[in-house]
Symmetry: D2
Subunit: 350 residues, 4 copies
C-alpha cells in the first residue's frame, strides 16, 4: 500500500538522502517537503544546495517547500521523516506527532519513556510503545526514532550473537566518515593527511544506545542489556562508510570463529521475513578476505543497507573474538534506518 | 666523540631517513653508504629516488655507493645502520656484525637469543646481551635491533605505567600512516577515501615485541612481561604518523586519570639522563585538548622523537583507562630509533 | 542480436571493468576470459584480485580462465575486448585479429594505417578502415581502437564545436584520477596531500589523438585536423574521473557562450541515433552552477558515459572561451569506450 | 634594528602564521596582538584555536589580546600586520594607518590610488607611493599591501622573463591548496576524492593584480603591464602549496628553454641584494626532474619563501613555453609576503 510522506529538514544532508531514497521506493509518495522559513515558499531546486551524486528527482525539483509546521502539511500524510537540528527536534517532533507518525533521526528523543528506539532487524517489538505514547499524550501520531549511525552498524552485528551467547564485555574503536558530521561538519584542513580522535557525544551515544536496543521493553521504559560496552570514536578522511574494530568477550568458553560467522551470515530479522522492499537480503554480510571490509569497497553492499563484517578471528583474551565492520553511515545509519522503520510500521501497524 | 657510520639500504625509504637524520647530528659522520649491486658504483644522487622533503645533504650527494659487503666498508666504521629487505637482513646483518655494531630495523633478528631489542627509554639494560652475542659468535661487533614502528610508540607510553602498576590487560587499535609500508607499499587506489583494516604481520609484532621490551633479560633470553595484549591494525590515508587508541585495565583499583597523565608526562629515561643529543626532552607529551593528538599536528613533536598522548580518560570497564597516542613512524618508529640506540651505545659502551 | 565476446587481460583493472560492464548488457554474452599463463586454468574468482565496488558477476565467478591464445577461444566469438600491457598488445591483438574483431584499449595500434581510432559519437566513419584492414592483412577479423582516457573526454566536447566553427588554438590542463594508472600505478606516498605534475606520454597522446579523431579518412590513413592543441597533464588525489580545464580560440568573432552551451548540450551522435543501449542519452551534459563539474559528483553521469561540462565563459583572449569538463576515465575513457565501439559495429557492420 | 610590531586578526589562520613566523625573526618584536572584541582581554592561548604544527611561541602564549583599535596599541609600534575579514579591512586599516605602517593582506585596498601593492623582488619601487599616501591623507603611517597568494607565486616566476622579453599572452591553470580558504573554508565533503573547479574572485584577482605588479608607478596610480593574462582556478585536496600550470607566448622568436631556466634560476631582487633575513636565497628554484615541482615536496623550499619551477618546455604554439610552479600559499603567499614587505621598508625607508 502506498503511503504519503513528508520530509522535514528537506534541504539538509540527511533530508536530501531521504528525498533521494524515498523517490526510489514505490510504496512511499512524497507529498510535502518542509524546511526553515528561509526556504519555505521556494521551489526545492532553488532552495537546496544539492550534494548527492544522483540528480534531484524530477518530481521533487519543482515542489514548493512549506514551513516546518504541521498545519502546512497535508492531512493525508502517513509518515513524517525528520532530520532536524538538535535544538529544534524536540518541540517540532512533538508538534508533528499530534497528527502524524514521525520517523526521527534526532538524538534528543531516542531514549525517552514510551518512545521506541528501533532497528527493525534488532528490536521491532519495541514498536509496541507507540500505542502507549499515543495514549499518554493524547496524540493521533507518535515518534519513532532510530539510533546514531555508528550504533546501528555495531548493533546489527551484535544482535545475532547476543541472541545465542552472553557478552562479558564489548569494545569498539571506530573510524568514521566525514559525511556523518553534515556537509560543513569537518573542515578539510582538519582531516586531510590527518585523523581527529574525537567526535563530540559519539562515544556516549554508542555506549548507551546499543544497550538500549538490545534491552527489553518494560512498560514504557526499556530494561537495558547488561554488559559493559566501551567505544572510542575517531574521524578519518573517508567520505561515506564507518569502519569499526570490535572485540567481544563471551561468558561461554566454546564459541568458535565459525559460530560467529555463521550466526552473522545467517541472521535475518522481521524486515527480511516480511519481505520489506527496502530491507537488504542480508543485514550482515560476512567476508573471508584478510583485508576486508573496506569503506569504499563495501559501504554500498545491499544498496547501503547491509553491514559488512570481516576479519573474524580469536582475540588474545579468554573466550574473546575480534572483527571489523563497515556500514554506510548516511543510508543504513540515518535516512535508510528511518525508512525501514516506516516500512515495518506500514506493514504491521497501519 | 664523533663516530663513523655506514648506512645499508641507503636508497630505500628508511635508508633515506637515516641519511637525512644522521647528517644533522654532529656526533655521527657518514663515511660509507651501501646499496644493492644495481646502485653500487654510482653517485648517491644518481642512484636514489629521493622522497624526503628536505634536499639530499650536500656531503652525501656525490658520495659513491658501495656494495652491501663488509669488505667494501671502511674499517674505522663504528656503527652500521641497516634497513634491509626481509629476506636479506638475516645473513647480511650477521656478516656485518663480524666487524661492526649493526643497528637494525629488520624484524627477523628482533627476538633471537642474545640479540637485544631495545628502546633506549624503555629497556636499555637489554644491551648487556651485546657482550654475550660477541662472545658466542666470536664477532668483533654485534646486532642491536629496534622494534616495529607501532610497537615503539605504544611501549613508550606503557613503560611509565608498567613501572608503577600491574596490567591486567591492554588493547590497542591502530590507524597507521602509509609511509610505514615503504614508498610503493600502499597504492593510492587502496587508500583514497578508504581504510585497509589489515597490515600483514603487524598485530603479531605488536603483541610479541611489546611484551619482550617490557621483559627482563635472563641469560641470553628475555622473560617476557606477562599480561595479555591485543592489537588490531588498520591502514589509513595519512602520510606520516601512527595513531593508536589504547585501553588498559589495571590490577590496582586506585589509579586515576591524573596518575596516568603525571606518570607519562614526567617520564624520562636513560637517553634524557645522559643528555643524548638525539633524545627528545620528553619521550611522552601529554595534551589536554579534547581532540588531540592528531597525526598531522603532533607527529613532529620533539623533532619526531616524542610520542604525544591525549584523551586520557576512564574506560567503562573496572580499573580501566583509555587514551590516544600519535608517534612518528619513520622517525621515532624506524630510523630515529636505531640512531638513538647507537647514541646510547656510543655513550655508555664504547 | 546477442554477440559472444571474449575479454583479454581479464584480471587487470580495465579487464575487470569490461567484465563488470559487459555483464550488465544483454546484447553481449561473455563466453571466454583470457589472462596470462599464471592465471590460465584457474577459476576467475581464484585468479583475480577484484577491485570493483560491485561483486564479481555470478556467471563469471566460476568461469575458467584460458590462455591469451586465439586457439583457446571459442570460434563463435564475435568481439574480443583487449586491455593488454603495452609490450604484449601489438603481437597479441594481431594474432586475435586473424579470426576476431578486436576492440582494443592499447595505445600501440591507435594511429596505424588502416586501423580505426574511434569515438562513436565523433568519427564513426573511420570504421570504414576495417574492411581494408581485413583485406590488406588477409584476416577474418580486424582491430578497432579507442583513444586515451583524457582524449576521449576532451574530444567529445570539442566535436560539436568543431563541426560548426574553426579552431585557431586549443589548450587543456588536466587533473587526472589515479585509477587511470592502474591499481598499482600511483603510490599513496606520491599523491596524498600532493599533485604529480607529469604523466608519462599523456600530453603527447592528447595532442596527437585528438587531431586524429577530428580528421578525415584518406585511404587507409587519416588527414589530421589542423589546429594547434596544447596539453598539460597532472595527477591528483581523486579515485575516478578526469577533470580538464579547456580554452579554445575560434577564427570566428561571433561565437557566444550560449552558442557553445547549446552546441554541446544538443549534441548527439550515431550511437544516440541508432539507440545503442550503452550510449548515454546525452554525450555531453552542460551544467550552469558556478562550481561544477566536480569529479566525485559528476563522473557517474549517464552511467559514466556522459562528459559533464561547466563554467563555459569568455576567456580574456580574442574570440576565446574557457570551460571545465569531467569524464569517467575507466568507463567512458576505457572499457566503456571499447564496448560502445563494439555495439556500433554490431549494429551497422555485422 | 629591531622593530616593534602588532598583529591584527591574531587568532585567524593568517594571524597565526604571522605570529609563528614573526617569533622566529629577531628583528621583529611582537608587542601587541589584537583580535575581535570576543577575544579581547583574554590570554592568547585561551582565545585562539591554534592550528599550526609548531606550538604557540612561549612569549605569546600569555600575551593579552587587545581590541582592534589603534588606541589600544602601543605608540612605539612600527608595523601593524593585518589579516582582517573583507568587510572590516577597509575602515580598520585606514584607522591604523593614521599612526602606523600597515602591512595588509586584504584585497580591498590592493589597487587603490597611492597604495602600493608590492612583492619586494618584483616591484619594490612601488613603495614610493607610501609618501604621497601619507601626505594626501595627512597620516603618520600608511598602508602597504601584498597580492593574492596565487598571484605572488605566478608573478615571481614571470618577473625575470618580463624584464628580458615581451609577453604576447600568458595562461595559467591553478590547483590550489585548501589552506588558502581559511580553516573552515573548504568542507572535507567538498574536497575528498574531488576537485572544485571554482574559487570566487580568484581568477579576476590573478588577472588584474599580476598586471598591476608588473606595471609602472605613474603619480599615485599604476600603468598596468599590457598583455592578456588568463587564469583558471581550481581547488584540490592539498593542505598547503599552490600548483600552477603556466604557458607564455613571447613576441621574440629566439627564446629557448635554457634562456627561461637561467633567467629564473639567476633571478634575485632587492631583498636578496639587501640581505634581508626573511628573504630566500633564491626567489625561484628551477628543478630538472620530469615530475617536479610537487606541493608536498617543494612547498617548504626556502623556508616557504621560494617558488619552485619545473617542467620548463616548449609549447606547441609559436614562441611559446610551458612550466609548472609550486609556491607556499600561506607563507610566501600571505603572512611571509607582508613580513618581507615590512623588512624591506624597515631597511630602506625607516
Amino acid at each position: 500500500m502506498v503511503r504519503n510522506v513528508c520530509v522535514l529538514g528537506a534541504t539538509g544532508m540527511v533530508g536530501q538522502r531521504f528525498i533521494q531514497l524515498l523517490s526510489q521506493i514505490p510504496d512511499f509518495n512524497i507529498v510535502d517537503i518542509a524546511a526553515s522559513s528561509k526556504s519555505a515558499g521556494k521551489r526545492y531546486e532553488d532552495a537546496v544546495n544539492w550534494h548527492q551524486t544522483t540528480p534531484i528527482p524530477d518530481e521533487i525539483r519543482d515542489m514548493k517547500i512549506v514551513n516546518t509546521d504541521p498545519d502546512e502539511v497535508s492531512d493525508d500524510v502517513d509518515f513524517v521523516f525528520a532530520s532536524l537540528p538538535a535544538g529544534l527536534a524536540e518541540p517540532v517532533e512533538a508538534a508533528f506527532a499530534e497528527k502524524f507518525i514521525v520517523a526521527s533521526n534526532a538524538s534528543v528523543n531516542r531514549m525517552k519513556e514510551n518512545i521506541p528506539l528501533v532497528i527493525p532487524e534488532v528490536n521491532p517489538e519495541h514498536l509496541e510503545m507507540m500505542e502507549t505514547q499515543k495514549d499518554v499524550n493524547g496524540w493521533e501520531g507518535c515518534i519513532v526514532t532510530n539510533p546514531n549511525c555508528s550504533t546501528i552498524a555495531l548493533t546489527l552485528t551484535l544482535k545475532p550473537l547476543f541472541d545465542k551467547y552472553t557478552f562479558k564485555r564489548v569494545s569498539v574503536t571506530t573510524m568514521q566518515a566525514v559525511s556523518g558530521a553534515g556537509y560543513n561538519g569537518v573542515p578539510s584542513m582538519g582531516i586531510l593527511d590527518n585523523i581527529i580522535p574525537y567526535i563530540g557525544g559519539e562515544e556516549e551515544k554508542m555506549q548507551s544506545e546499543t544497550l538500549h536496543l538490545l534491552g527489553k521493553v518494560n512498560g514504557g521504559l526499556v530494561d537495558k542489556a547488561n554488559f559493559p560496552l566501551s567505544a572510542s570514536c575517531n574521524r578519518v578522511g573517508v567520505v561515506d562508510g564507518h569502519t569499526e574494530s570490535v572485540s567481544i568477550e563471551f561468558e561461554e568458553d566454546d564459541v568458535t570463529v565459525e559460530d560467529i560467522k555463521s550466526a552473522m551470515s545467517g541472521f535475518v530479522g522481521l524486515p527480511q521475513k516480511e519481505k520489506l522492499s527496502f530491507a537488504p537480503e542480508k543485514p550482515v554480510i560476512v567476508r573471508d578476505e584478510e583485508d576486508r571490509p573496506q569503506p569504499r569497497m563495501d559501504r554500498d553492499s545491499g544498496h547501503g543497507m547491509s553491514v559488512t563484517v570481516g576479519r573474524v578471528r580469536e582475540d588474545v583474551f579468554e573466550n574473546s573474538f575480534k572483527y571489523t565492520l563497515v556500514g554506510h553511515n548516511t543510508i543504513r545509519g540515518a535516512a535508510g534506518a528511518s525508512i525501514l522503520n516506516a516500512q515495518l510500521i506500514s506493514k504491521l501497524y497501519l
